[in-house]
Subunit: 216 residues, 2 copies
């Protein structure tokens, strides 16, 4: 087991731990808004004030968000707008896409009024679709802008989840799909979807002009 632990520490875990150790300060707005998920961010499980499975889901989402933010927190506007090839998405566009996706699931599973007027004019369609529209429209923003949008949308999720229970999360809804599905699956998808794009973010980040490390 010793050799295995060595590998495990070197490659996968220490990096995650480093993100954990340094990442909290990187998401101050999240920590201000939801200390219950900032405290012990690497302890996945129920949280006070939330039903057990909802608290657990939100703790995963908080951990995942911390990992994503640790990938992008020091990027300049130019880096956030870097286009690796003609069909790539910029890192900035992917970050807005994460917020747009979460907002979309708020709408479809919680019927939330998600105009987010307080955030200004955000082209949610472009953020959702990406592609040419995303490349044309989403640019020139700082990391503070993206973090602010992500946090605003996440805070709405937390607020709404507080009023719901495990029955809502676990019950199989009759939806438009032929296979049984529940809200936990939909919201787990919102969560793992951040990791999906984080894999791409790290890959692209590692290939920018002047990049020292290649993403993996």
């Amino acid at each position: 087991m010793k050799a295995l632990s060595g590998i495990f520490n070197r490659r996968t875990f220490i990096r995650t731990s480093a993100a954990i150790a340094t990442g909290i300060g990187a998401v101050p707005s999240l920590s201000q808004a939801a200390p219950v998920f900032q405290d012990n961010v690497s302890v996945i499980g129920p949280r006070e004030g939330f039903s057990p499975h909802i608290g657990t889901l939100l703790s995963m989402m908080a951990w995942m968000r911390m990992v994503v933010i640790s990938s992008v927190d020091r990027l300049s506007k130019e880096e956030l707008d870097y286009l690796h090839d003609g069909k790539s998405n910029t890192i900035g566009a992917m970050l807005l896409h994460l917020a747009a996706t979460e907002r979309a699931y708020q709408g479809s599973t919680m019927n939330v009024n998600s105009d987010y007027k307080e955030l200004g004019n955000i082209n949610w369609d472009a953020a959702m679709h990406l592609g040419d529209e995303g490349r044309n429209v989403i640019k020139g923003n700082s990391i503070a802008f993206y973090k602010n949008v992500l946090t605003a949308v996440r805070n709405r999720t937390i607020e709404e989840m507080k009023t719901r229970d495990d029955k809502w999360l676990l019950d199989v809804a009759s939806g438009s799909v032929s296979r049984p599905i529940n809200n936990y699956c939909k919201w787990f998808h919102v969560c793992e979807h951040e990791s999906n794009h984080n894999g791409q973010i790290k890959w692209i980040k590692g290939r920018m002009p002047g990049a020292k490390n290649f993403g993996e």
Copy 2:
């Protein structure tokens, strides 16, 4: 909400649903081994025979695996060995890396004897480290090979998890890291790590010679 649902359906959810609708047949070995996680794969939550949080975690891992397999199930050996640039990992190497990572966490959190001799000579070090070693060593395998390894490792996880309880999953262990962490966090990482690499797999798959769609 209607417009939102439209976006949501078009981009994110229908594709996931399509994977769900077609993906099950793509992982026959998983379904043979663990019907409790194949049935209602899009219903995340507790499963009979497992403690509530462990069953929920395993249901997420099963859903996530289905999504990954749906990305790679029709790839040829040449496609699995496709190298996008000199520092990329092949899709095949990433698949073996997912199995190696899960195996590493079996070792570190469950002290599992994970020699997997029945799978033949697998270079787990190369799979764990990737990089030059991975590029040199991991090649020439069919998708059946990778799926077989992934399933064998997953079956061991399921078997081991069956003997454990939520206390084991949730309790904060004294580890080598300074911040509190529990086994749920480590195993959630094993799960989201598949999505991280799936994002890269789709990106690379969309840029292979002859690729019709670009990954996102």
